[in-house]
Symmetry: C2
């Protein structure tokens, strides 16, 4: 069997090709829908529902075979037809008989489902995970402040957002940890209205979701998934009040819809595929390095697990460990493809070189398993989260270390940060005037306003003196 991952020497032609592939990974666009649309339309026709067939024809008519086009059409339908579009779209895409009466999940249904959650798992979340997340995020609270001066003052009033949507994907894509990571900062910020959107059937399939929502004090839940959920949250309909911000991961349709409604509402970053860079030297335990790379590679085929080292020998030891550990992994096939696509071990002439290479990738997760882990961490410029030392595997941060696991992906750590309490707060500027304070600044304002040709600005101050 060939090695599960390639080893590249920095600067070699193979390394350059690998580097190019990593950069292009960030630019992947929306994908063709193929014949999905015609299959969906055929399924609707077979159902014999003439109203729904008419709707589906309108939906798919003249549509370009790209995901973007479908998402644009969905947004437009929800904006114009409200709940009618929501129920029909859910019938078409989810095959679920949604009515305007069942768009929102009743409290009774939520309570009944919450009862069915695995009590041991719920207990771990309630006793261990949530308190650790709360403690970390409470440290991110922000205080209002003001600077007083001549009877007036200037300052910042910190306020929570009024109303936010959490998108929670359904089925196998539902991760209890992701729900907690999105909800905790919103709760700590003091957001009063938190509305959850999740595809129909998701609650029934994963009762833990209902139990966690109850634990978090969230009771407004909609049976809506995909682009139609994002449209409902952004525009509002008869049954769904529009929100101020939408957070949470989802399918390609969800990601595209979030990007399109951005500006009308706020969104968290559009989540790309996940990645880890593991910096290691000869002192690192090769089995641990390999295990951490596999924990990333098992996510999906687009995940990237990259080792970076100054030791060719250590690199080979990790390759051998990867081969060994892969053999017994339940998600072996996914992990293998991920390693082939975007995996690699890069051998650099020094750790300094290696860190500069890692900086160009600006990885979501950066682990440092080197003898001088602290010094190396201090040199890193671009990373979403840094895991320092051998006892900080990414999985610790994924679940319960405390920091948020919603992190900037595919190089956006150059400018973006983890989801935080600040994402759910606003800073309102407060300017309190006084006759004395205004008089002290009068000449400055007049001079600048007139230099900018804004005479009415100048007069609004002149009148007051």
């Amino acid at each position: 069997m060939p090695d599960p991952v390639n080893v590249y020497e920095i600067g070699s032609p193979e390394f350059n090709a690998f580097f190019k592939r990593m950069r292009e990974r960030a630019d992947a666009g929306g994908s063709p829908t193929g014949d999905v649309n015609s299959r969906l339309l055929a399924r609707v026709r077979e159902s014999g529902d003439s109203e729904l067939t008419q709707f589906a024809q309108q939906l798919f008519e003249g549509l370009h075979p790209y995901a973007e086009a479908t998402v644009e059409r969905i947004l437009d339908l929800v904006a114009r037809q409200g709940d009618v579009a929501l129920t029909q779209l859910t019938r078409v895409f989810d095959g679920y008989p949604l009515t305007s009466a069942t768009i929102r999940v009743s409290q009774k249904d939520l309570d009944a489902l919450a009862q069915k959650a695995d009590p041991e798992l719920l207990d771990v979340c309630r006793r261990d995970v949530l308190p650790r997340l709360m403690r970390f995020h409470e440290r991110q609270r922000q205080e209002s402040w003001q600077l007083e001066e001549r009877g007036g003052s200037v300052g910042i009033r910190v306020q929570p957002l009024q109303r936010v949507a959490l998108y929670v994907p359904g089925g196998k894509a539902f991760y209890p940890s992701s729900l907690m990571m999105a909800a905790v900062p919103a709760k700590v910020a003091g957001v009063k209205e938190i509305a959850v959107f999740t595809p129909p059937g998701a609650l029934e399939q994963t009762p833990l979701l209902a139990a966690l929502l109850k634990e978090l004090g969230i009771s407004e839940v909609y049976r809506l998934g995909g682009a139609q959920a994002i449209a409902a949250a952004a525009f509002g309909t008869e049954k769904v009040a529009r929100v101020d911000k939408i957070v949470g991961p989802g399918s390609e349709f969800v990601a595209l819809a979030k990007r399109m409604v951005f500006g009308r509402v706020d969104i968290d970053n559009v989540a790309g595929p996940s990645e880890v860079v593991v910096l290691f030297d000869g002192s690192a335990n090769a089995a641990w390095v390999a295990a951490d790379m596999l924990a990333q590679a098992e996510h999906d085929e687009l995940a990237a697990a990259v080792g970076v080292t100054d030791s060719a020998e250590a690199a080979q030891a990790v390759v051998a460990e990867l081969a060994k550990q892969l053999a017994s992994l339940p998600r072996e096939a996914t992990a293998r493809r991920s390693l082939q696509n975007f995996g690699g071990i890069v051998v650099a002439p020094s750790m300094g070189f290696g860190i500069r290479f890692a900086d160009t990738l600006a990885p979501e997760h950066l682990e440092i398993l080197t003898e001088q882990a602290e010094q190396h961490a201090a040199q890193v410029k671009n990373a979403g989260a840094i895991f320092v030392g051998p006892y900080a595997p990414e999985a610790f941060g994924d679940y319960c270390a405390g920091p948020n696991h919603v992190l900037p992906t595919v190089g956006t750590a150059r400018f973006a940060s983890a989801l935080s309490v600040g994402d759910f707060l606003r800073q309102v500027s407060i300017i309190r005037g006084s006759a004395e304070l205004l008089a002290a600044n009068r000449q400055t304002i007049l001079k600048l306003a007139r230099a900018e040709g804004l005479e009415a600005h100048a007069r609004s101050v002149e009148l007051r003196s």
Copy 2:
């Protein structure tokens, strides 16, 4: 002469139509380019430059007559052809003979231009404005922190962005105050590389720009405007290193380009037209209310100046003052059209009603000239900046009160805040492990990882015990 502004009673059909117009103002899209493209092409042909003519034909070939299409084409050309596209696009759109050698402004040119600035104006900026802005923004600095636990720790390391672009519009659109408002938070955050992009000729037309840049310690300046400037900043070319974030206002092309490159780089909010809501009661000086509305209306025809009051009498007094003050205003025509388009005085049954109406607009600026200004300010939910009391005209905040005048427009104050030091910082999560800390969390991680079907995550922790 008819009244310069309408008075609406809340709930009346006229009010409802006004309210609808205000909401639609937020949704204005890209505009048709009309025959601009063919006129530009004709101008290039007349120049007799065959290379440029060929480029312009490629640029405009088969282009849909909408601004979006032109901007998409410009981005694509710069991404593929780099500096060649930059110089040719500048020749086409700005009619300026840019070469790859003159894309960047030399230090000698900058110094010579700085000498020509109006010394009195520069002095006001240096002695009064910049120190006030610095003092306010320094209060926004953020500290790194960590929580220690069982030999490990979790925390946040605060880091400035590496490299940002400030876009500075040219000619009449250049406002010295806007340059200071964009540069000060970047400097306070500690951004090392600040690159300025401004259309060719802008520095020559406004030498104060060069002098302010010198004062701010910024020496990397490019003769690039429009969508090509944004493309250069976002993608990088031979002469321009790509940045991590782009801030600053610009033309429609600039706004569209910023929106399109968002995700690849960060951007500040896409600036929409400006607005003010003035809350006033019978105690307010009608002349001051009118002057503040005019200071907004003089900006441009899309600016919105809205008065909100509980007194029909006070409303009429403001209408009379508007008519009187308009007559002598240099930008009377613009202010009149703005008041006709999006101006109005809304009479509410109580100030409480009025405040709730203001909240639905979520205005960029909210002034409160009422007897109980403090209490009313406390009730406001959505506003970019609140100006409390009769001696806090918006113009004070526009120039030198301290808070940033780059504020969320057209209703985005529901979820967005003023430009701040935080916009130029990143929060990197730091997780330091220890054998004891990991062991204490082992069972929690294993339980959750296996519930999520991520066996490799579980094993990465198990291996370490």
